[in-house]
Structures are given as structure tokens and as C-alpha cells.
């Protein structure tokens, strides 16, 4: 018999799974145009899997959308396209045309500027143009202090703005999903999952994830104390940059010049779970865009960032 803690973990996963599927079904039942935002990362891959379970044996009753900044790791795009084929889930891709026309890249702009244009604005436009009334994302409360404060169903005023001081109360399985003109909803079915829950669920359900989550020798440069992987020849090296091979993995995946890797020897899901069980740092420590000011995530969310 497995140890007690393993049984407990499995029960926790069942309860979290039930909650997430409930939320996904609410999105389908109470809204007219739901969209699931797929970011290719482990959380949104788990979320997409949950959505398939929620509506099996039928197809997903909503659009799946990837907001592509064009600066994702090559492995991520390959993974996205393969998953879309194998799971038979069409994934719509949206990119802010301003990126190409105004040459907005992580190298030409500050990370705040770049994130605002290529992520926040791109997302807002995609949501408005698609006429989506609920956008479903894989954000978790344990990721970050302002996320810990957010509701599972989180109202956005016209212009996709979040007002953290006036969130709707949320009770039991009776959320208030009524929308006034201009308002939209964000739904976070994984709100109560931790990073470890997501990995344990990936192991239990036998899900594949982007290979970048596993440790491998990769070409890297240092930026301060952060390890940055040189993913393709668009990477602009500074004159004193030394590209060296390090065995690293990612805890979180974003745009490649803005995601820091960690030295690790975890080459399997089991290894990752063991590594996280011993870890005392949080996952978003590797996100360069979060580090700017203690309320950076909250400020971005108020503007409409996921």
C-alpha cells in the first residue's frame, strides 16, 4: 500500500479536479462565448486536459486561443502544434501586429513596455475582437501575492480592467456570473492548485509537457544572477556575453529572453516533484517581468494582463 501522504495527495487531486471541472462547466453553461487561453505551459496543458475530461465524450464547447508574442521558445510552438493535432483541439493563434510593424521585441524595449504591447494589449484586442464574454486561464493563487487575493470568477470592467478593491463576493457553487454591458469575466479553475499539485496531476494523468521543463545541457548566458537560455539566432548578445553550456530546466515558461532557467538535474516528472518537495523558492522568481516593483503583477492585472 502506498504511504498515507500519497493517498492524501491523490484525494487532494480528485477534489481539485472536481472543482476545476465544475468551473469549466459553469463557463460553458452560463456564458455565450467562452474562450480558453492556452499558454503552452504546464498549467494550461493541465487545464486543457481538464476541459477535455469535463466535456468528454464531446468536443470542447469553446474556442482555445494562444496569444503568441513570437518570442516563445521554438520547443513551445512545436509542442503546441503537436498537442493540437494529437488531442484534436483546434488552437487559434493571435499576435499583436504592432510587434512586427513597430519592431517591438524584448531587446528593443523594456520588459514592461514589451509585456504591455505584446501580451496585455494583444490579449485585450483578441478578447474584444472575438466577442468573448469569459476568458479561462490557468493562473493559480499560490503563484503570487495578488493572485492569492483573486476570485475564481473574476469580473473585468469595460476595457478588461480589474478592480481588486471591489471584487464580487463568491459563495459555494453559486457564483454571480451576470454581466452588465461591457463587462467580461475571467475564470481561473486552477485557483486552489499549487505548483506541486499540477506536477502530481501531470504524473497521475500521464500528460506530456514541453521538454524545456526537464533538465538538459543548453546554451546559456548570465543576466545578473539569472540564467538565460539562448534559444535561437534572434538573441542579441552583449559584447561581453559568454555563451556557455549549463544543465538547466525551467520552472515557468514565458518569452525566452524573459524567462530565467534554473540549474537542475531533474530529467523526469518524478525528479521534478522530488526537487519541488525540497524547494523553498517560488515559481515566479524566474519570471523577469514580475520583478519590477513589489506590486508589479497587480499593476499589470489591473490593466488586463492575465
Amino acid at each position: 500500500m502506498p504511504p498515507m501522504s500519497a493517498l492524501l495527495n491523490d484525494d487532494v487531486l480528485n477534489e481539485l479536479e472536481a472543482e476545476a471541472i465544475w468551473a469549466l462547466r459553469e463557463c460553458a453553461g452560463a456564458f455565450s462565448r467562452p474562450v480558453l487561453l492556452y499558454s503552452i505551459g504546464k498549467d494550461s496543458t493541465a487545464l486543457l486536459h481538464l476541459a477535455r475530461k469535463a466535456f468528454a465524450p464531446g468536443p470542447l464547447p469553446f474556442t482555445v486561443l494562444h496569444v503568441d508574442t513570437t518570442w516563445k521558445f521554438g520547443d513551445m510552438i512545436a509542442f503546441r502544434d503537436r498537442l493540437s493535432r494529437e488531442w484534436d483541439v483546434p488552437i487559434r493563434v493571435h499576435t499583436n501586429p504592432a510587434g512586427a510593424s513597430d519592431n517591438i521585441t524584448p531587446f528593443t524595449r523594456t520588459s514592461d513596455d514589451y509585456t504591455r504591447v505584446m501580451k496585455t494589449e494583444a490579449l485585450r484586442t483578441a478578447l474584444t475582437d472575438g466577442g468573448f464574454d469569459v476568458a479561462i486561464g490557468g493562473a493559480r493563487r499560490d503563484e503570487e501575492r495578488s493572485r492569492a487575493k483573486e476570485r475564481m470568477f473574476s469580473l473585468r470592467e469595460a476595457g478588461h480592467q480589474w478592480n481588486p478593491k471591489a471584487q464580487r463576493p463568491e459563495f459555494w457553487t453559486s457564483p454571480n456570473l451576470a454581466l452588465q454591458p461591457g463587462q467580461t469575466m475571467r475564470a481561473f479553475p486552477l485557483s486552489n492548485w499549487t505548483e506541486l499539485d499540477v506536477w502530481r496531476y501531470i504524473r497521475r494523468e500521464g500528460l506530456e509537457v514541453v521538454p524545456l521543463y526537464f533538465a538538459a545541457p543548453r546554451p546559456t548566458v548570465m543576466r545578473g544572477d539569472k540564467i538565460i537560455v539562448v534559444d535561437d539566432d534572434r538573441f542579441e548578445l552583449a559584447p561581453d556575453d559568454v555563451v556557455s553550456t549549463r544543465t538547466v530546466r525551467f520552472r515557468t515558461l514565458g518569452c525566452y529572453p524573459l524567462s530565467a532557467a534554473e540549474e537542475s538535474s531533474a530529467t523526469s516528472v518524478d525528479d521534478i516533484i522530488a526537487e519541488l518537495e525540497a524547494s523553498r523558492t517560488s515559481e515566479r522568481a524566474g519570471r523577469l517581468i514580475d520583478g519590477r516593483g513589489s506590486s508589479s503583477m497587480e499593476a499589470k492585472k489591473k490593466e488586463g494582463y492575465f
Partner: protein, 626 residues
């Protein structure tokens, strides 16, 4: 079947509550820090922030919003996960103490199993402490841990604890006795500690009297084991019941999705649907992982029945004992700064169910200082009251003590979308199920299949003279040529017949709308297209009419014509008469018309008739019978 020997629902939820500045966030922060739950980057963030007397400000671990850190108070609930050494997983909910944010405290208490009520031992008990204790108990929290805090600032700890505990117990008992139903499993545990120094939070404080009080950690460990044990007893012995969240229309069949309540259904289980009363057998059941209460389930039936979101599917044998009521006695916490207005139409939402409701009567509000029941008070923000609620049609709500999920509801302002109250159903009071309808052989679905078109109610509203009747007439002629059955309920005809006893006061207009909507409901059962042409100037009345129908069956058509144009057309000479007689009650001139906010169809009353007709036709003919 799952053969796992473990129990379901392993998560235990703990709300930290109490009055503002009594140290909830600091205590919770210390618990996270002391159990190594806080991450290193959080610790470095907290250490780099302004420290108090060179010590960590533990509240910063949970006060995650900018405005919270600026004001030094908690505004909204923080959700944190804590895993105890036993492997037990706790979700810790930090809630605001400030009266202005009581609604957020209620959110945290609603799902909690244990409430840690933090009281500043140097200040004593405040109204807000008792208000939180009462809210927690009314919302079904069985275990209260009274955490007497800031004992590092007290000389004689034992004396302080004894005196505060005595006063609290006396006041809580008085309040509970009057306002909360008896519950033998309810417990109150006292812990004495300091969130600032960490004394008795995780480790026993050696300077406190030995063995007197458990640490907070030990208290949570003990209680969470009790919570788990009591849950496993109650799970899954009741008949199968599921509220339909979503109907998945697949190529050849329909699947009904929801959350399991009661026993797991199986292929062959005979079920009945509320409110239609139709029965069928289950031919397929889908599960996500396990089959305990709350698990996602999807079912397919052996015959097609009209089932919508919010309907309830139960084991056929249990249908007769389904608690069906149209009026309820409930405890309500008022969450809106504007209060709750008696008699106003609100939406009641409970799970996937949504329908119009009223609060008819306030039996009493509770004075949080004394627990006394005060009669005759309006329902103001943060008030806790016992009320009578009525809904536009009978619904199957359980009592809150049977299930929080199916016995709890929220009250929403229909115009603003604001959640104005949260309610706990205590008992049904008006039963409309005493009259059982005869099951006639021919039903709506059979008749609709004969014409190929799904019937509906087109509720055509607008000012007198806006063109309602003209459009209705044109539509009926067109549908007649296509073999679709129609009937027109025209305001003027109704006024001369069914409603000949009514005048034009707001009350009489409402009653007129009620009668017409009930007749429309009867006619819809014939599977025809019911065209109602009625000024119906009040939003609430139209909302009540809408509430009688299933989703999609009620189609509000707003014929939008400027009042000047109507007055110029004046087919019945009403506007001309109104200018002669200022006492005449004419909508748009001397009495108000409340414009529909989101009608299904918004028609420009000055557009050519063929254009508007085409839009109406499209709506009707797109509805194929199934």
C-alpha cells in the same frame, strides 16, 4: 468503481477572522513563516519592507494588494495552502476585519470548516468579533478556535485569558442560543498566543502556564482530523441528485453535466427531472476520476426530454420527496451598501439555477452586540436577518444544514449585477406542489415536431403607437403561410376581456402583465408561437414574466420608436386625448416607460416594416423542433 481506501474531500478550510487590528494577518503570516510554508523570495520581500522594531512584519506575507499594504489593513481574502506534518492539507483564508469589508469575511466563512476568531486580549471583545462569530456559525462553521492574541503585551497572562474567555463565552452562548440552530457537534476551543512573537503559535511558549492551552498548530491538527472524520460519515448515503450545469448537444445525443450529490448513478437508474416531472432511464454515465459527493458526472438518457441548465435530475423514487417550495425562511447577510429593499425584484442564484425573487418580510435583524432580535428594521449593509423569500416559480432548494451547496443562495440586483446578499435556506414555507398536474398524452414537444418549429413567446414591448400590433400582424400572416401556428395576445383585447377589472395604476399594470404571462405560458404548451403585444412599461414586471419560461423560450422584442413619432402616428388618438386631459395615465407622457436593457431583439420602430419583419422571422424560424 474506485477502490481507494482513502476518504474523499481531504481539503480542510480555515478562516481567520475577528475585528480590525486584532492581528489576524500577523498571526497567519507567522504560521506560514514558522512552518516553512512561506517561500524564500517572500521572506526576502518581507525582510526588505519596513520592519517594525527590527522584527519581520508578518502581515506582509498575506496582505498581497498594494492598497492593503498602504493602509495596513486587509481588504480581501487571501488564500494560502498549508500542509501539516501529518500530511493534512489546509486552505487558510485570511479575511478582513474592517466592517466595510464584512462581505469578504462572509466569502471566506462560507466554505470554511474551522474559524480562528482572533481577539486582541489587551482590547477585549468588540462588536465585530461577535458579528464574525455569528456569521461563521450561520454559514455552517462548526468549529470555532478563539485565539486570544497579543499576550506578549500582557503581564498576567492567565488572568487576562480567564477574564476575556469568560466574557466571550457568555456573550457567544447568548447569541448562539437565540439565533443558531442547536448543533451537538459544534465546538469552541481557546488558544492563547502572540502572533508577533510567535508564542504558542507552533511551539509551546515556556513562560505560559504549562499544559493550559494547546498551540494554534495543535488545535488545527486536532480539529481538521475531526472534520475529515465527520465528512466520511455523511458522504453518499442519500438518493442521487444533480443540478444540470450544462447540456452538451452532441451529434446523436445530449449529455447532461453536473456535480454528484448523493449516491452514484448507474446505467439503468430510473430518474425524474424537476420541474418537468418527466422520467427516463440512464444509458451512460461519465466520470472524471472518483465518484464521491461533489465529483463531476455526466449522464445520457434513453429518451429525449426537455432539460435546461438549472433543472434537477433525481432518482425517480426520490422525486416525490424533493423539497419543492416557492417561499422560504432564510438567514441573510446583507452585503450591499445600499441595503436590500423589501418587495423589489432581485435574482436568486443557487448553483446553476437563476430566477426572479423578492424578500417579502424581515422577521428580525440581529443586534451583534447583544444577539437580540430587533423587529421592524430595514435591511442595511452588514445586517444579519431572518427573512421570508419568495421566488417566481417553485424550486427545489434543500435546507442549508443538509447541504451548503444546494441550500445556500445569493441575491443579485438585476439592474447593476451587484451581489446584495447571501442567504441560507432554513425551511420551505409555501408549497406549490400540493396540486399535481395531470400528465396529458400530447405535450409541447410532440406538437412542435408536427410543425417543425419550436414554439416561443415573443414579448413585444414599447410605447403606445410604436408599431407593436402592426408588426405582430405582419409576422402572423407570414408564419401562417409557412404553416406555423401562432396566437396574438394583444394588450387592448386583454384589457377588454381577461383584465376588464383592472385600471392603469402601477399595481394594476403589474397584475395585467402577470395574467398575460401566465396565459402565454399555457399557450406555449400547445407548441405555438405566442405573440404578446403589451406596453408592459416596467422592467421588473417583464423580468417576472421572463422568469416563468425556460432559457430561450422568452424572446423580448423592443420596438424602439421616439415618443414624438408615436404621438404623431397616434392610431388610437391617445396622445391627442392626453394633451387635452393632463390627468390621463399614458405611458411615455404622464407615466414612465423603462427601456429594456438587453432585449433579444431591438427593433427600430421607424424602419420599414418588411425589414423588421425579416428580423423577426429569422428569430422564429431558426428555432427548429427537437
Amino acid at each position: 468503481m474506485t477502490s481507494s481506501p482513502s476518504q474523499s474531500h481531504p481539503l480542510v478550510r480555515v478562516v481567520f477572522c475577528g475585528a480590525v487590528d486584532d492581528g489576524k494577518s500577523t498571526l497567519l503570516g507567522h504560521l506560514l513563516y514558522g512552518t516553512d510554508t512561506a517561500t524564500l523570495d517572500e521572506i526576502s520581500f518581507v525582510s526588505s519592507s519596513d520592519a517594525i522594531d527590527g522584527k519581520l512584519d508578518y502581515s506582509l506575507f498575506v496582505d498581497g494588494l498594494e492598497s492593503e499594504r498602504e493602509q495596513g489593513i486587509t481588504i480581501d481574502v487571501a488564500h494560502r495552502t498549508l500542509t501539516l506534518e501529518s500530511g493534512q492539507r489546509l486552505q487558510l483564508l485570511d479575511s478582513p476585519g474592517h466592517a466595510q469589508y464584512t462581505r469578504n469575511m462572509a466569502v471566506a466563512a462560507a466554505s470554511a470548516d474551522i474559524a480562528v476568531l482572533v481577539i486582541d486580549a489587551t482590547r477585549g471583545i468588540r462588536d465585530q468579533s461577535l458579528r464574525h462569530a455569528l456569521i461563521a456559525q450561520l454559514m455552517g462553521v462548526r468549529h470555532i478556535v478563539v485565539a486570544l492574541n497579543k499576550l506578549d503585551a500582557v503581564d498576567d497572562v492567565a488572568r487576562a485569558v480567564t477574564s476575556v474567555t469568560a466574557e466571550f463565552t457568555e456573550r457567544l452562548t447568548a447569541m448562539t442560543h437565540r439565533n443558531v440552530a442547536e448543533d451537538a457537534s459544534a465546538t469552541v476551543t481557546v488558544v492563547a498566543l502572540s502572533g508577533r512573537t510567535g508564542a504558542n503559535v507552533i511551539d509551546v511558549e515556556p513562560s505560559f502556564p504549562a499544559g493550559e492551552w494547546p498551540t494554534l498548530y495543535a488545535a488545527l491538527e486536532g480539529l481538521s482530523a475531526d472534520v475529515r472524520a465527520s465528512r466520511s460519515e455523511s458522504d453518499g448515503n442519500a438518493p442521487f441528485r444533480m443540478s444540470v450545469q450544462f447540456v452538451n448537444r452532441l451529434e446523436r445525443t445530449r449529455r447532461y453535466l453536473g456535480r454528484l450529490s448523493g449516491r452514484a448513478p448507474e446505467v439503468g437508474t430510473h430518474v425524474t427531472v424537476f420541474p418537468s416531472g418527466e422520467s427516463a432511464h440512464i444509458v451512460d454515465v461519465g466520470w472524471a476520476s472518483n465518484r464521491s459527493v461533489g465529483s463531476p458526472v455526466s449522464i445520457e438518457l434513453d429518451r429525449e426530454i426537455d432539460i435546461s441548465r438549472g433543472d434537477v435530475i433525481v432518482e425517480a423514487a426520490a422525486y416525490a420527496s424533493l423539497p419543492v417550495f416557492q417561499g422560504f425562511l432564510a438567514d441573510v447577510v446583507c452585503l450591499s451598501p445600499d441595503g436590500i429593499t423589501l418587495g423589489q425584484t432581485y435574482s436568486l442564484m443557487s448553483g446553476p439555477l437563476e430566477l426572479p425573487c423578492h424578500i417579502d418580510v424581515t422577521r428580525y435583524t440581529v443586534d451583534p452586540e447583544t444577539g437580540e432580535q430587533v423587529v421592524g428594521q430595514p435591511l442595511g449593509v452588514n445586517d444579519i436577518a431572518r427573512v421570508e423569500v419568495s421566488t417566481s416559480r417553485p424550486i427545489a432548494l434543500t435546507t442549508f444544514s443538509e447541504s451548503r451547496e444546494t441550500g445556500g443562495f445569493i441575491i443579485v440586483n438585476r439592474a447593476t449585477g451587484e451581489t446584495v446578499g447571501v442567504g441560507m435556506n432554513r425551511a420551505g414555507i409555501t408549497r406549490k406542489s400540493d396540486v399535481t398536474r395531470h400528465a396529458f398524452t400530447l405535450n409541447r414537444q410532440t406538437r412542435e415536431r408536427a410543425t417543425g418549429i419550436r414554439g416561443c413567446v415573443l414579448w413585444v414591448t414599447g410605447l403606445p403607437g410604436c408599431g407593436k400590433s402592426t408588426l405582430a400582424n405582419a409576422l402572423e400572416v407570414e408564419l401562417f403561410h409557412q404553416g406555423v401556428h401562432t396566437v396574438i395576445l394583444d394588450g387592448d383585447t386583454i384589457r377588454q376581456t381577461l383584465s376588464e377589472d383592472l385600471g392603469f395604476s402601477p399595481e394594476d399594470r403589474s397584475e395585467n402583465v402577470r395574467r398575460v404571462s401566465r396565459v402565454a405560458q399555457l399557450l406555449l404548451d400547445t407548441g405555438c408561437v405566442v405573440i404578446v403585444t403589451l406596453v408592459s412599461p416596467y422592467r421588473d414586471d417583464r423580468a417576472l414574466a421572463r422568469g416563468l419560461f425556460a432559457d430561450g423560450d422568452f424572446i423580448e422584442v423592443f420596438v424602439d420608436t421616439p415618443v414624438e413619432v408615436c404621438a404623431e402616428r397616434d392610431p388610437k388618438g391617445l396622445y391627442a386625448r392626453a394633451t387635452q386631459d393632463p390627468t390621463m395615465n399614458l405611458t411615455g407622457v404622464t407615466s414612465p416607460y423603462e427601456t429594456p436593457e438587453s432585449p433579444e431583439l431591438h427593433i427600430d420602430g421607424t424602419a420599414p416594416v418588411p425589414e423588421s419583419l425579416a428580423r423577426l422571422m429569422a428569430v422564429v424560424t431558426n428555432r427548429r423542433a427537437n
